[in-house]
């Protein structure tokens, strides 16, 4: 292996933390969605790294499934965003507070 597995996992951890911060600090729902994609990719990276460390392809197959679910999630999520934008004319999560009790 060209680099120690820990290095790759640390890159994955940093990317995941950046995704978490993105969800917390941004108010635009589409950018929040992109930060979630960033977190999914960070986890994909650790799957690939650990699959390589174990010398088995199972981890890569799991990444394949994560990509599929991410594609489905993106399609449905963006459709929900379009529907809510049509009704409320905003993508700011502070103004989309209908479910707040």
């Amino acid at each position: 292996m060209i680099v120690p597995t820990q290095w790759v996992l640390m890159l994955s951890a940093v990317l995941f933390a950046i995704g978490v911060v993105g969800v917390l600090v941004r108010r635009n729902v589409i950018v929040i969605f992109m930060a979630i994609e960033l977190m999914l990719n960070a986890v994909n990276l650790s799957f690939i790294a650990l699959a390589r460390a174990r010398g088995a392809v199972d981890g890569q197959v799991v990444v394949f499934f994560v990509m599929t679910v991410a594609a489905a999630e993106a399609a449905v999520g963006l459709a929900i965003i379009i529907a809510s934008f049509r009704n409320r004319s905003t993508v700011n999560v502070d103004e989309l507070a209908l479910l707040r009790g």
Partner: protein, 171 residues
Amino acid sequence: MTMGAALFLLVAVATVAAALGVVLHPNPVKSAIFLVVTLFLLAIVFVLLEAHMIAALQVIVYAGAIMVLFLFVIMLLNLQDDDPERGRHRYVLRGLAWLGGVVLAVELALLLRGATMGGGEVPADYGSAEAVARSLYTDFLLPFELTSILLLVAVVGAVLLAQKQRRSSLP
């Protein structure tokens, strides 16, 4: 340091920078472009880890299809730069979010510090389309078939949610 390790470090730094660009840039279109760059750089990391098939899928499915969908929606909604945030505690909350992110990253890094992991030689066809497909169509056949149903449901759901007018009376 070997050539490969240097390349990994270079790509890792660029990936983190592009990811910060996604989070920090006020314009959603530029955030999306930064995300495309991040996904491309991650595909390079995947190649370095000998996951060639997944790297190709990453570029085609993620950087291609999913990000085009994001850009379509951003442009459909005609989004401009984000409004500056309002509220009294905005700087405190923003600072706390960054602090939490740094704590999370440091915590995960410390957790990994002492671990020993394998990483010896792998067969020559490791990560090839054939090797991944063999595992996918034997060990993971049931999840693979269920995935097709998931995608069908997602397509129907997306069309139903995003269509202009719905019939007022349900059958």
